[in-house]
């Protein structure tokens, strides 16, 4: 029991960060970022390069992932999404663009980092063992704690900083936010950069545990969409709830259903279908709060 909870919490925190990035971009720009998983993979490879190739400390790798992905996010908004949104009123346009960016990033990752599974040496050794009831390697605990700290940091940032407030305002009423003096273009770019950065950070965190490979992009995007469908798209609390719920479901599934083969995601999808039929807007479906 303790083991399942701890694993769920550890996974859930990573997932929540991924979902927060996706939901931030959606709420600000009404864009479904299908390239979110690829941004996560990119973050993993950047940390891998900095830590395993250049031999620099893990924290430098994580910062590098954050910066590189923030720049990629900003560029995507400034030169791709902004122009498409100005020219086309149809939502499919940005969806196609996002899908295109996903394929493009996959190609770039293949070209630059190759197709091999990559990992970094353990950042801390040792295993925490509480009477065999709860066993968790210290590096997982560290990565889980970092992710939780970042979720909390993100909430505080959105709640109390001037920039965070402006992004919430923009998500809730674009026109009113403009009348307060919020520059829509500028804050859309900041929001996109921040969302991509979160994906990159999770990639950097998880490369230390599970490693990274090219094929993880698509499935990660699917998981991210699952999470915001569970929680309700465009809501901070929904993304966090969705992340932790999916983390817990996976953790429970991997422990209890393992005996029946690889059925965890089958069970999760089935549950989600029923859930969405009953509550299509997700748990907390409403604009940002």
């Amino acid at each position: 029991m303790e083991q399942i909870l701890a694993n769920g919490l550890y996974l859930g925190a990573q997932y929540a960060l991924i979902a927060l990035g996706l939901t931030l971009i959606f709420s600000l720009m009404n864009v479904l970022n299908f390239a979110h998983g690829q941004m996560y993979v990119m973050g993993g490879f950047v940390t891998y390069t900095v830590v395993a190739q250049f031999g620099l400390p893990f924290i430098v790798g994580l910062l590098a992932s954050a910066v590189v992905l923030a720049v990629i996010g900003a560029v995507c908004e400034r030169f791709l999404f902004r122009t498409v949104i100005k020219r086309s009123k149809r939502e499919e346009s940005t969806m196609l663009l996002a899908a295109g960016i996903a394929f493009f990033l996959d190609a770039v990752i293949l070209l630059v980092f190759g197709e091999k599974q990559r990992g970094v040496p353990k950042i801390v050794d040792g295993v925490f063992n509480w009477d065999m009831r709860l066993i968790m390697p210290y590096d997982r605990i560290l990565i889980g704690a970092l992710a939780i700290a970042m979720v909390v940091g993100f909430i505080l940032f959105m709640q109390y900083s001037r920039t965070g407030r402006a992004m919430r305002a923009l998500a809730q009423d674009r026109m009113a936010a403009q009348l307060m003096g919020v520059d829509v273009d500028r804050y859309s770019m900041i929001g996109f950069a921040l969302g991509a950065m979160l994906a990159g950070i999770v990639g950097g965190l998880l490369v230390t545990i599970t490693g990274i490979n090219l094929g993880m992009g698509g499935p990660t995007s699917v998981k991210a969409f699952l999470m915001i469908m569970i929680g309700g798209a465009g809501v901070i609390s929904g993304a966090i709830a969705g992340g932790f719920i999916l983390g817990m479901m996976e953790s429970i599934g991997l422990t209890l259903l393992a005996a029946y083969g690889d059925v965890t995601y089958l069970a999760i999808f089935a549950t989600l279908l029923v859930f969405l039929a009953i509550r299509p807007q997700g748990l907390m479906g409403k604009p940002w709060g």
Binding site: R168, A176, G181, P287, G289
Partner: protein, 240 residues
């Protein structure tokens, strides 16, 4: 009393709707000017043109001797123009406090912002009671007070109000009207007031323009307009 706003021969379109057909209005420092007229006359379009939310087709807009049209909405706020939009447009999932703080988005002096916030909470004590409540859960009247407060948080020189009495209980309309008079007096802010409640608008303004289908049809001192037969027939009839 120098001229503050000059709105000169402005034309404005929405796709194919001809919303302003060469409208000219002006406003002096310290004045309260009302825009009255029926639905679709173009009142809100004038405010949207001033705040830069809509580009104008021709004509020009000057504010404090500087050209305004073509400036981005965010920069227009920084020049000292704040607007309370039609339908209030609160940030529904933000607290009253955060809504008010958003009003001060363009300002950076924390102590000065705190002073403005204090004066607004003193002016509208109801907002103080509801300070941490989500704005979407306020009553219509409370929301209206909040968005007026939110606009004042920018410390504007010109306040644009779009139908502050819309959807508000008649008793509260009186309060709102009194608040507008008090604000223009205390804060030394000029007011451009759009209203369908013409009687209220004329009673608290110095001058007024009557609009009809995108053109100014009458203008003058509000006192005089209130006794004008054409205004009485077109805008004051039926109301008491």
């Amino acid at each position: 009393m120098g001229q503050m706003l000059n709105f000169d021969n402005v034309e404005l379109f929405y796709d194919h709707v001809y919303a302003l057909k060469g409208v000219s209005i002006d406003l002096n420092e310290g004045e309260t000017v009302a825009l009255i007229g029926a639905n679709g006359a173009g009142k809100s379009s004038i405010l949207r043109a001033i705040t830069g939310l809509r580009k104008i087709k021709s004509g020009r807009i000057d504010f404090m001797g500087e050209r305004l049209d073509g400036t981005a909405p965010a920069d227009i706020v920084r020049k000292g123009i704040a607007m309370v939009p039609e339908g209030r447009r609160v940030f529904p999932f933000m607290s009253v406090k955060d809504n008010l703080l958003m009003g001060a988005f363009t300002r950076s002096d924390k102590a000065d912002i705190a002073r403005t916030l204090d004066s607004i909470l003193t002016r509208f004590p109801r907002l103080k009671e509801r300070y941490n409540q989500q704005a979407g859960t306020l009553s219509g009247g409370e929301q209206q007070m909040m968005v007026i407060g939110r606009a004042l948080m920018a410390k504007p020189r010109l306040l644009l109000l779009d139908e502050p009495s819309l959807g508000i209980a008649p008793k509260l309309v009186q309060d709102i009207a009194r608040a507008i008079v008090a604000i223009s007096r205390d804060e030394k802010v000029s007011v451009l007031l759009v209203e369908q409640n013409s009687r209220m608008a004329l009673s608290i303004s110095n001058r007024a323009y009557a609009l009809s289908t995108g053109s100014v049809v009458l203008s003058g001192e509000s006192k005089a307009l209130m006794n004008d037969d054409r205004i009485k027939a077109a805008y004051l009839g039926g109301e008491v």
